[in-house]
Each structure stands twice: as C-alpha cells, then as structure tokens.
C-alpha cells in the first residue's frame, strides 16, 4: 500500500474529468471557416476587433480542416459544392462540431431553386443553426456560446458522440431520401414557383 501524502494542499485540485476536458475543449474551439456568401462577411466582422471571436477561445482560424474543431458554414452551398463540403467535414478529426450560419446554409433560404442545397444538414450533421440573413455578429457569437454550452454537457463515457457517421452506401446520404424530399418541400412564396407553367 502506497501512501501519498502531499506536503501541502497547494497545487492540488480534484474535479470531474468530464468537466476538465469539456472546459478545455469548449474554450479552445478552432473554427474552420467555410464562407461562400455574404454570411462570410459577417463572419469576418465577428473575427475582427470590434466583436472579437478570440474572446471565446477562437483565436486561431484554421484554414485546414485537419487542424479544426468546428466547421462554420457561412453562406449558401450549391449542389456543385456539396461533395466538397462533405469531404471537408470528413477530413476534420474528432472531436468536431459544426455550425450552420444563416438562412441559406440552414434551409436554402430564398434560393429554392435547382442549384442550391436545401440545408447543409442534408450533407453533414449540424450542431447549431444560426438564423438570419445574414446573422449579425452577435447572432453568430450567441450560436458559438450555445455550442460551448453543448460541448460542456458532453460525457466522455458516451462513445456514440465521437462515432463517425457513415452515410448510407447506396444513396450517400445520412438522412433517408423520403425525409429529405419532405424537408425540402417548397414553403412560403416558393409554392407558387415550383413549376414554370409551360
């Protein structure tokens, strides 16, 4: 039997491992900016001095997915870019999270047409959706704080959280095709624009 008696109580702290790891992770999220449209301009403003994303541990923008923790998709994603976004997500190492910034990334927005993906959650899993067209930097910061809250509540013992989602081999999709069709049904003004009339 080994008795470890610290000479003094100084320099010792006892805590839950979850708390410690999640505290470290949540406060050092490295974002991978995937900016395709005007949301990226607001994203740049968020990173600049006035709003200063670095206050929340996002000092370093990671322009390589291999060194990134959180993918921030800012802007509309056309179908031509869909496999690129999927590939970038697959290149990011675990643990990883993603934020869908703006109406277009979250739902296709006003671009209910032949060329634009109706929400990036049909391509990659999304943790936080930030609404707005484009969202103000405060909106993005709030979304990031929500993501930090989510990270802080994760359990290390829950292995499923870190499992890499494999798409269905036949359809290459995470979500069943009928669900995607149903989710991307036209809404609002779009219902009058689905057919050309010819």
């Amino acid at each position: 039997m080994v008795n470890i008696v610290p000479p003094s109580q100084e320099g010792w702290i006892t805590t839950r491992l979850d708390l410690l790891v999640n505290w470290a992770r949540a406060n050092s999220l490295w974002p991978m900016p995937f900016g395709t449209a005007c949301c990226a301009i607001e994203f740049m403003a968020s990173a600049a001095s006035k709003f200063d994303l670095a206050r929340f541990g996002m000092e370093r923008m990671s322009f390589s997915p291999r060194q990134a923790d959180v993918l921030i998709c800012a802007g509309r994603v056309p179908f031509k870019l869909a496999p690129v976004l999927r590939r970038i997500w697959q290149q990011m190492p675990q643990p990883k999270w993603s934020i869908s910034m703006g109406a277009c990334a979250s739902s296709g927005g006003m671009f209910d047409n032949y060329a634009v993906v109706q929400g990036i959650d049909t391509i990659i899993p999304v943790d936080v959706y930030v609404p707005g067209c484009p969202p103000r930097p405060e909106g993005l910061l709030y979304g990031i704080l929500m993501l930090q809250e989510k990270v802080k509540r994760e359990r290390l013992s829950d292995n499923r959280l870190r499992d890499e989602m494999e798409p269905d081999p036949s359809s290459k999709l995470y979500i069943p095709p009928p669900v995607i069709d149903e989710l991307s049904e036209p809404f609002g003004n779009s219902v009058h624009q689905t057919r050309s009339g010819l």
Binding site: A82, V117, L198
Partner: protein, 231 residues
Amino acid sequence: MSTPALVTAGSAAPDHVPVTPRNLPNRGGPANPSAERIRLRFSAAHVRTEVVWGETTVYIQPASALEVVRYLHDDDAEQYDYLADVTAVEYRDLELPVQVVWHLRSIPYRRFLRLKAELARTAPLRVPSVWPVFKGADWLERECYDMFGILFEGHPDLRRILMWEQYQEGYPLRKDFPLRGRFSRSEQLRQALAAQPETRYSMHELSIADAFEDLPAEMRQRLARGQRPGE
C-alpha cells in the same frame, strides 16, 4: 510572346468628342454607322436593324454570324476589338425564336454594336462559334451552351461550365425548365454527392489547357495514363 499593342479609346476617330447622350428616344434615332455597312456588305445575311435607347441592334442570319463578326473585328473602318458578352434570350412566347446575342465594342472608334441571330425552335439550336476571331468567346459560349443548350459549331471544347459535366436535368435557363429542377431533392443531392471533388475540377481541364506543357514531366505522365489527383 509579343507585347500587345496599346489601344487608346477614340484613337481612330480623334475628332469625335464623347458626350453623355440625353433625351434619347425609345425607338429610332441615329444608328451606329457599322449597321449600314453590314447591310450593304452582307445583304443576304442582314435581317433588320433596330435602334433602342440609342443602342443599335443588327439582326443577322445565324449561319453568317462568324463572317460578320470577323469583318467587324478585322476591317480597319470597324475595329470591334472587344467582345463584351455572348448570351441568349428565350421568350416565354413559344412562337418567338430563341435569340443569340453578341455585344461588341470598338474601343478605337468608341462604338457599341449588338448583334442578334434568331434561331427557329423547329430545328436544333445551332450557331457558328466566334472563337476563331475572339478567343475570349470560349467560356462565354460554354456558359451559353450550359444554360440554354445552344450548340456553337466550331467551338474547340464545348462543355458545361457552371453546372457539372454529369448534370442530366437539362438547360436551367430555358423556359421549360422548372425552377426547382426536374429531379427530386434527394435525387439531386445523391447525384451531386456521388461526384468526387478531386475529379470535378480535374486535371483533365488542365491537360487540355496550355498549362499542361508547363506541368512536371512526372505529373504529365500520370495524367496521360488517366490518373486523376487525389485518387
């Protein structure tokens, strides 16, 4: 490679002082003098001339588009040295023909001319490419083919440019094309995700470009064997 000659705006017509036109009529008014010369020189190809808001539009037969453009580019009295745009117009009225539009600009004479060719819908939409005269027409005509399905005969590499090459839904800017596309959302997504990003902007495009010669020899060999980067 020779240094391109410097073109000064208005150098061919030094007496002409450019002024901002005012009180332009909707129709009519003085036409671009090039229009009359096209009518005299290509009497069989010339269809009609219109002047709208001071801008001249010359309608020509589609088959003679290349020779008219070549004349406008080469002739010393015209010197249309800048092709601003190649595009097409389709009207909702199915009776009306599809129009192909060329925007030409003569920098030495400070002139603007719009050429139009009307293609009947009964036959395949074919028009000669102006690529032999303007190399810059390459991507403009590819975009026009991609969006409208107009076949530019004589184009060296007529492929889709905005949509991907495997795109099967048709030509998006045609009036009979539904706004949301022909396939269901899941099918569109499935087809898009089936593509490999590395092969999308493939070295095939580099291999047809002049840059192919500048690539390292080992890379050229791999490409010649059909290997694509990232595989």
